[in-house]
Subunit: 269 residues, 2 copies
């Protein structure tokens, strides 16, 4: 997928919503919990209830790995289902990977070749040669942690390095890396005061903004601080959509929660 | 497992060797490559050839994820085999995980509850609340990236923050976290000049040192810079042991390469 086609989709749907499939087995509605393929069945229902309102789906690998290879199979089936039935949606493996070069190459192959994800989230600590392997795949993207939405973001990300904060250095430095046109950034919505700073450092990149919904964060202030002329934003919501109801109406409730966010986005666009 | 029993094992075997099972499918010897369970069969042979020389095994998750759920099953079988047949060896999921709290909890459950790993490697960028969830499991350890052995380590880890480098701040700060007695550190062997600095910051912690072997790095200088009175070191070697031969003698060659390192360790101990 190209970022141009993602932008077109954002305009056509009047939505920059990403639905996060953090499909925690312990939280699945009773209606699907005992299904032999509970996670996949749940995901399929959520996808069918929300696909016209969302432009992206984000699969959090932790919630699948915690069920071992059975969970990994649910992840495989979910991304295959998206690829076959909704190939225009942008898909994100939210995996926070990053290692020495030959290992990062293996992770890139895991998500881009073995599985048909469009992108994967990566952690910057190990630097350039841990990220560049993810940037060598045509039509595939890495989404790097820049400034995250949790309290721990203040432990290291905001430390001063030279004349600016670590997260600013991380973003600025990464713009010099090979394949930087395939690099996007994770930016916590609870830190809108910093979004404009980062937008100035990389005017054209897409930002993935988690933290609207269960983690707090204000859609309108995010939009005004970080949108560029091509929008350049994906706002993710996970729990507040997929677990909007624990009853048999979970898919309908997910649709309503997604619709609510999409309507707010439509106003902003 | 306790670090006391790990230290006893190091003394008894006169070895602080960790064998890295980076069992790249593309590099497996012809003798096992076409086996229906090639990775697991190879790992079993390597483990049986080296278990008396090594005190730890490190499983690099990337090399299993790159084969999808089939690879994940090989990972599951390998750690179950170690747990059942060699329960005294310290096992490391080399996964470099780290995310917001509820997601880190899911990763911890994946490696410590669903799978029987003793430890998992974690990345520090997201700070305290991304790591503490890994430190809440009795007898389980998180091994955090401090200073890594790749070139990209110089992109961010060595930046000055306040009066010292980021990696020093990362180590010093993490000593204040809940469960810090279950925290170990990844330290690249190619940076021995920094090992003593980090040892001073955390005198009792275990260090996992990759990079001896294929990545370069000198065992003796690592030992002198970083060993403490309980040794407090695990030195990992992956490719230079497991791929010592691509012929039918791969297991014997792995044993010889492991033996060579163990003999060097014995001299130092």
């Amino acid at each position: 997928m190209t970022t141009q086609s993602l932008t077109e989709q954002i305009r056509n749907k009047a939505s920059f919503l990403c639905v996060g499939l953090d499909s925690d087995l312990a939280k699945l509605p009773a209606a699907v919990r005992n299904h032999p393929e509970a996670q996949f069945t749940f995901n399929k229902a959520i996808i069918e209830a929300t696909h016209d309102l969302a432009v992206a789906y984000k699969i959090n690998t932790a919630f699948y790995e915690s069920d071992g290879s059975k969970g990994y199979q649910a992840l495989e089936k979910t991304i295959a289902y998206l690829d076959q039935n909704h190939p225009n949606h942008f898909t994100i493996a939210d995996a926070k990977r990053g290692d020495i070069g030959n290992t990062s190459t293996q992770y890139a192959r895991a998500f881009f070749e073995k599985l048909p994800f469009d992108s994967v989230t990566v952690a910057p600590y190990m630097g350039r040669d841990s990220i560049e392997p993810f940037l060598q795949f045509e039509g595939k993207y890495a989404i790097m942690l820049a400034l995250t939405s949790n309290q721990g973001a203040y432990d290291f990300q905001t430390l001063k390095t030279l004349d600016r904060s670590l997260y600013e250095t991380v973003v600025a430095t990464s713009r010099t890396w090979d394949g930087a046109d395939r690099l996007m950034y994770v930016l916590g919505a609870t830190k809108t005061e910093h979004l404009a700073t980062i937008r100035a450092l990389t005017p054209k990149s897409f930002f993935l903004v988690p933290g609207v919904g269960a983690q707090g964060g204000d859609l309108e202030s995010v939009f005004h601080a970080a949108a560029n002329e091509d929008i350049g934003l994906l706002v993710n919501s996970s729990r507040s959509i997929i677990f909007a109801s624990s009853g048999d109406d979970y898919a309908e409730a997910a649709r309503n929660a997604a619709k609510d966010l999409q309507q707010q986005m439509k106003k902003l666009l």
